[in-house]
Symmetry: D2
Subunit: 345 residues, 4 copies
């Protein structure tokens, strides 16, 4: 049974595994102070065209999110996020466990607009309410949508005007930046965000997220927060080595592009079989609205997530591809879908 359940079903890209093997018995200092981390930091600073950025490597996304928020906010300050945001729903209250409220803004497509941010801030007027201080967005979003450059610039301007930090969760950034409708670049992110991260877990690494801090106000003592929240990996070299591999040539974006290509192939297959989508995604996540009977039938051959029921007879199904997805499995899926959708089974 082939899995389209998520983009972290397999291990790491073979070049990463090889790099880990090659350096396995070298001795390095711990906690991210080794030469691999140093070099990975330098490579990332170069790719984002921001030589003064601080770069820290953390193990996972929830850990990165809670550490950034804990570092950035005073106790009464809050994060504004789309109601679909990972920090809102899928982190078991990790942000609240750091003491901070997440102000959830209903969003039709997983994205925040300046108007939404302004409205949320407008509702918080005095010391009887939390003080919004950070805007959290993800690119690609949890429903596969993307920010255009003009949109991110507008959000950036709104954040500046309102005194808010702009934090971009890039767990799926390699997919976002290589989607056919994308016009953002890594240097754009460094120019427009106060802090963001480059996700490794969902893009070829065993694990790892590279947190990039651009705003000087957020830089001091960040390592204290990493350590305190349990995110400081003893063998930090593991993170350094992986991000070296991803960024020493074009591997990071190459893998995102591959994931997207296969995702778009599935999108085409779903479309051609006459089905619609719950969101308009050009990335490696596709959210198809399928008849329940078809979902049932597909479930006998493929693993995937069911994401709610828009009506009595249909289910939203999430199909995810990745750098590791088997192209022949995608083609088999397309054929199976065509067959099953036409009622041949």
């Amino acid at each position: 049974m082939y899995s389209f359940k998520n983009d972290y079903s397999e291990g790491a890209h073979p070049r990463i595994m090889q790099a880990l093997l090659d350096t396995n018995l070298d001795q390095t200092d711990g906690y991210g102070t080794d030469p691999h981390c140093e070099r990975a930091r330098a490579l990332i600073r170069e790719k984002i065209a921001c030589p003064e950025a601080d770069v820290h490597f953390l193990v996972g996304g929830t850990q990165a999110n809670l550490t950034v928020v804990a570092a950035a906010l005073r106790p009464y300050q809050a994060v504004v996020a789309a109601h679909t945001g990972h920090v809102c729903v899928h982190e078991t209250g990790a942000i609240e466990a750091t003491g901070h409220k997440v102000v959830a803004v209903p969003s039709p497509d997983g994205r925040l607009t300046p108007a939404m941010v302004e409205e949320a801030c407008g509702l918080h007027t005095d010391e009887h309410m939390v003080q919004p201080k950070m805007v959290y967005i993800s690119d690609s979003t949890e429903v596969g949508t993307l920010y255009r450059k003009a949109e991110l610039e507008a959000l950036h301007d709104t954040c500046r005007a309102l005194g808010l930090y702009l934090f971009l969760d890039g767990a799926r950034l390699s997919a976002a930046l290589t989607a056919e409708t994308n016009d953002l670049s890594l240097p754009d992110l460094a120019r427009l965000c106060d802090v963001f991260y480059l996700g490794g877990t969902k893009c070829g690494a065993l694990f790892g997220e590279a947190v990039v801090i651009v705003n000087d106000a957020l830089k001091p003592d960040f390592r204290y927060l990493i350590k305190q929240r349990g995110g400081m990996l003893a063998k930090g070299r593991l993170l350094g080595i992986q991000f070296e591999s991803l960024f020493e040539d074009g591997l990071y974006l190459e893998l995102g592009a591959r994931a997207n290509r296969l995702g778009m192939r599935m999108k085409r297959a779903i479309s051609e079989s006459g089905f619609s989508f719950a969101s308009d995604s050009y990335t490696n996540q596709q959210f198809a609205v399928l008849p329940d009977a078809l979902v049932e039938a597909l479930g006998g051959h493929y693993k995937f997530e069911r994401n709610g029921k828009p009506d009595a007879g249909h289910t939203v199904v999430r199909f995810v591809t990745s750098w590791a997805t088997d192209e022949t499995a995608v083609e088999r899926f397309a054929a199976d879908l065509r067959r099953l959708a036409s009622g041949a089974e």
Copy 2:
């Protein structure tokens, strides 16, 4: 320059690396629900002779400590620990960041006794003070000492009598259980502790600590805490595979024994050169009291930690060996020490 700085300078034991390679492109479900984690749990339950224990895999020690404490205690409850305990000093206030006080008890050798625990509890008498509810110990301790079985039994009895949970940090448990003066076994730990963990990071794994929950009161919803505190690894299989390798045969204890053997070789060398120790360790950590000039000279050839100055002319130096330590480096160190100590340089 060879490093005796710690036991996490290298990557993973080759058998672990091979297992990771062999399974690299298999598809598995995320978050520790895969078959490797299941099998590793079963292997550990068998080795500890406690079929009903819950086993959870976390990435690192600070993360394991803070997650266990956050799961076990109500907000006003406290952890009693030796003042040298990892949770007291070397976790950047990770426990306090979960809201809990660590009641630090001065200990001459890194260990807690029933009398120390009773005294600490006796000082906390009403609702104006925190309520001690958990005893935290480590084996081997941060200064290389060990608990004897009778001592752990006595602590267990004290904890039962006072209504305290007994939590053993086993970051260096493989070394502890294979030291020549040890008489504790894995089943003893499951019998005497409410919760403990088997450290992987310092014993052959890339990373990973296996938290074993024996007390039923501590079992419910532990996975919620792991997720909330950022410790739930997406590719949980990485932890499962590593602990499978460590526990499917005797690798875990074998590696601890090797680390100890080399540590004791260094101890002998230091002793034979006429130096004493800050603590009496039979494990892979040795704390030598050396003349400053010698420390300086050794520092030109080896990396190690300086742990304080007992007097104006001496420094406590920590030498650590591991499963990966090069035996020839140890012999070279012994020779260098002999030479340098006799003033030949």
Copy 3:
């Protein structure tokens, strides 16, 4: 300028002031262990017909809310509340500062229904999300509405079925229980809630909320939480004396009834002048929808809160009466409103 801004503009009912004076130089033990607190607890237990309830006195509402939540929930558990609930918006993230998420449920009238609670719980399915464990309601609500007995019974049943604690914020309970549409009694609350409180601040006291814990699971060590969160008043007697005065005869409900009577007088005046209301309140809070020009004009004579703009030309104005409201001021308001509304000014 007369104030209808809130129900805590004045000091305490004269009988309370007298009681404080009469006992001013008596010596009593601190922290709520004095005979006044004991007697006040006994009086409350009697009025709620629940001899085994625990009663604790706290200074204010936000303090009571955060202490109850911190005492009741494990770290990953959440409170379900109407989006208008005090804990959602007007406590500066006090609940989140205890580490807990408030799951805000959109509610048309400030109340929660079983269906809303069930839906909120249905959306939280596994350890990647918070676990709803408590339902927070207020009676009267923040918009002046009330729970009928049948509605509270239904909520109680839903909470039992779903394993949730039912927590009722009674900051305005004296008004709620004496409204003409109310059919709940104090014993009903003790029967149907796991924990609730009887508000004193807004009903004749200088300050003080009496937290009543009915569910045995929530009783242990509550005083530890009070102390830890800064709510344990040194001169606890002040709380005891005030609640003695409120509950030794019918003063508590008598004052609520008076506040409601004056509130209803204002409602009638507003109605008779042809204006509508943002919520249907039979209590001491009235939310009138008034033309902006009228609001402006009234603002020259009276203090009140503006609670949003339903459309370009209107404002929702909150008028609040209390035990201390001057009846002649209410009549003057009615006359002024009639005059101003008819365009006479």
Copy 4:
């Protein structure tokens, strides 16, 4: 049975009660924004000769401590305090519940010296440990001792040099500043501390602590913290009125002086009966070392706290006087002590 148990056994000074009565039915805005609070703030700023200080009124000491710490520190920063400090032992982990570690420094007499602070900071060297950022002291201390001006200046200098905030808990400040050995003034405190508070609870008020923030870095948004931690009193006027009474003429220091005078009378009585003291106090708290039999006998006539046993036959007894202590009770105590000590009973 007369109580020397603490300095909060009675209500408020009659002038305060009268002021509360006189203003009882005036209408004022809530949450500390009323004219009484404004005037009290102005009076305090004048007395401390620091016109630009921020002054906030909180209800109690633990609340004040936890709010100041939560406002001042980033998550990984710690408070250095004497091991006898109120924040260390008698606040049920209130500071830890805000996420911060209290670094407890053993102190022979309840006071901190620059050397102690320097040593504590010297032990915290990198991001694996908390970062000391605030020094907490109390004057008078929990054992009745005092800081001399030169000592406070030295601490101030040390804090400046090390980048630490100096926070003085003045729960018993009126006693401290009026002790015969004191040479500190209110303006000295404003000059030497970053933040401190003037305790009302133990000096004539029903309750209340006036937090004075001198350092601009600690001023922003402090009211958010007050509200979030449950310390914002709805009828804030109660605090304003009380502090007006205490500071509009010399009442505050006058009451402290009276408490001290009676405390010194008891000290003389104890001395003259041949007993020694656990600490050298010139304030309203006296810590006598008495034979157990005498303690037993006195316990039949007076209430007091037992504070530990220095040896098998003796107990440390704390006797506390206050603004409200009955002078004849003190004389009776002196006589009883003389009689009981001479074995007449």
